[in-house]
Symmetry: C2
């Protein structure tokens, strides 16, 4: 007898073959039907959610985490609206990416197709269940979802609701699967389902991503770890620099596109530090500086080697004085997770050097790193931000959930050798 994991993965693979040929119109109708189903089943979902919340309370889960887990009418409404946003996005499938004719008369078309089956492993936020399913479905992929145990009752109720909504609107049955057994062994089993799952996307913290990279036999896209940097170059407009650094650190410190380290050119450090470090401290940010920073700004704590490599995800910033753009680049390429970095500068040459030499998914000149986001890039939605270079880099929208195939039209051509 096959396990829950295997039978659900296989069912998704069977459904994927049908789903890849479903029209854009049919997928959009289904997405809207899924949203309506969510609104109609709001009570069932909220009841299930309250079971999760009670269990979390009993376990002593922190307020912040409980807030991520909790649903209410407004959040369900917003999940339903998210579905209609995805319905309105252009369908990527069937696009002729390129087309060429060979001297022997073969006509080759490179056509965008779904990836097939996408596995998503995520933690406690139940809205991930909805938006992952929506994006995968829109790009013609079946999805197997494996959420964390803390949200399991909510996830079961949501998955049941949206999959019934989708199937009643004609989406092939089996296209949306949720693994209900949340023991660690089933996650590991899931990561080995290579014959059914085409790509695995973890949506969660560094620990989850590391475990998947270590254990997965399925091609994986690493997402979301962001040890991001701002470098304020000697010719920077210091008011602009202060606004960018402050925004990148303080506007939402718990997200991956917030900065963790500030590098400042030695020529302006004495002038810039009082402006920015006071402003950050007043906003509650803890400053951890290298020796030269502390010489200028003695209120700073001492930064350790470990601090340069840490994604704080909190109101903490590591600060270092550098001799110029070369040292800034060297520091960033050494410690960065290759997510997002920015230079604030008035010097075109320094900007060019920075953007060409920094090896990160998104490299900014005179703007906040906080813009690394599918919505802000105009992709309409995102399933995550890739920090690897294979397949997709940076914000991943619908196109990044697709592959392609070559369709070759001949008239009897054979190859000589």
């Amino acid at each position: 007898m096959s396990s829950e994991v295997e039978s659900k993965c296989r069912a998704a693979a069977d459904a994927a073959r049908e789903l890849s040929n479903v029209s854009a119109a049919a997928k959009n109708i289904a997405l809207n039907a899924m949203g309506e189903a969510l609104l109609k089943s709001a009570k069932v979902i909220l009841d299930a959610n309250s079971v999760d919340i009670s269990a979390a309370d009993k376990k002593g889960m922190s307020k912040t985490l409980i807030d991520r887990l909790a649903l209410d009418g407004k959040r369900i409404q917003s999940m339903a609206e998210g579905l209609s946003v995805v319905a309105k996005l252009p369908d990527p499938i069937g696009e002729v990416i390129s087309e060429f004719k060979r001297p022997n008369g073969l006509k080759i078309k490179k056509i965008r197709v779904p990836l097939g089956v996408i596995g998503i492993i995520y933690e406690a936020r139940p809205n991930v269940t909805v938006d992952s399913a929506a994006l995968c479905l829109k790009a013609g992929n079946a999805v197997v979802l494996r959420g964390g145990s803390d949200a399991i009752n909510s996830n079961i109720a949501i998955a049941k609701t949206i999959s019934s909504g989708a199937y009643s609107a004609g989406i092939p049955e089996g296209s949306i699967q949720l693994i209900e057994d949340t023991r660690r062994e089933t996650a590991e089993e899931f990561m080995r389902m290579r014959q059914y799952i085409d790509v695995l996307i973890p949506r969660g913290g560094a620990g989850l991503i590391k475990s998947i990279v270590e254990n997965s036999r399925i091609p994986t896209i690493e997402t979301g770890e962001g040890n991001c940097h701002a470098y304020v170059e000697s010719t920077a407009d210091l008011k602009m620099a202060s606004d960018i650094v402050f925004n990148a650190k303080v506007s939402r410190p718990s997200v991956c596109n917030a900065i963790e380290t500030l590098l400042v050119d030695e020529k302006i450090a004495a002038k810039f530090f009082p402006i920015i470090l006071n402003r950050l401290e007043q906003a509650g940010v803890e400053i951890r500086g290298d020796k030269r920073t502390r010489d200028i700004y003695p209120a700073a704590k001492s930064a350790t080697e470990q601090d340069w490599a840490t994604e704080f995800l909190a109101l903490i910033i590591a600060v270092k004085v550098v001799s110029g753009v070369d040292e800034a680049i060297e520091h960033i390429n050494r410690y960065s997770t290759k997510h997002s970095e920015t230079i604030v500068t008035g010097d075109k040459k320094a900007a060019e050097k920075f953007t060409s030499r920094i090896d990160s998914a998104a490299v900014y000149v005179n703007a906040s790193t906080r813009f690394t986001d599918g919505g802000e890039f105009g992709f309409g939605a995102e399933i995550g931000i890739s920090t690897q270079k294979l397949h997709a880099r940076g914000p991943m929208g619908l196109n990044e959930l697709t592959s392609y195939k070559y369709v070759v039209q001949g008239s009897g051509q054979v190859r000589e050798k």
Copy 2:
């Protein structure tokens, strides 16, 4: 002290950062210099090769395998010519793939960049050392090569020659690395060098690919396993069908784009089998048929379940009668390795159904599967044929050895929430 594997991978990663900014002109000069170095060191390389050949002889290696391993003046000449072909290809790096402006004024460019460091694991053919290094270098990537033990003396001589040639022409030292210790443990160590290697590409048989998929912690591109099919539909021009099937099976049976299974529509099987199966048998092909095939063509052996799933890479063909395009599609999607398939048909609707429903990298109408090849597709060269859907599918040329990054030009933009 770090091992050979680790120190070479780290050196490649250091070199890769420099290499990513080397100009097209400098890379092309280096590729030509590598070719000249090969010709100049021909004697040293041939001497090293003869050591490998003697060892292979002593081991009792088969003639075919020794032929793959053996070098002579002509083969070295042809490796040098391959380098000058790669030098002439357009440089993919720096291409602006797309460019867009956001309502807030941010200008976003998606720019093609190298992947970084590419690991190649391969078997006995020493020419792979040259052409892998050339393609990786042209696309701005450092490369770490790990060839099989049978060719180790040849590989050391070749790698030394081409890397000296490249470095003397200004390529950053360390860009081309060969792991000289060919024990199994070092291969496994290599597959874990995730912090230095961005992608691992196996070039070899199914066994090698399976071992890498099982053991690698580095993103991998599966290449080259080809259980390919031809389906002759009821409206096919039987002369064309015979030529295509014969070409796809017989012209070079040991390669991945040769077919292994022939599916024939029941309406034409009685007419087509005598034509094609006699022709194949006369060329030395062993026919393994299902019951309906054997009823029409009693000389066929009996095909087993295993035969449908086998990449014979030899003059053997499995043959099955099917009821129409639906059964053909079902059979192929079940047994295929998703490499290349062809339909021979006069019916546009059948062709459309086949090309849209078959989930393989290259799907042909009225042409031989043997065209799935970087050169035949006009890519100028190829590093392998991907049978997975992540990152690259089908023939992989220079573009498939690249990633991209987003360069975002602002004027002080910050994000509201």
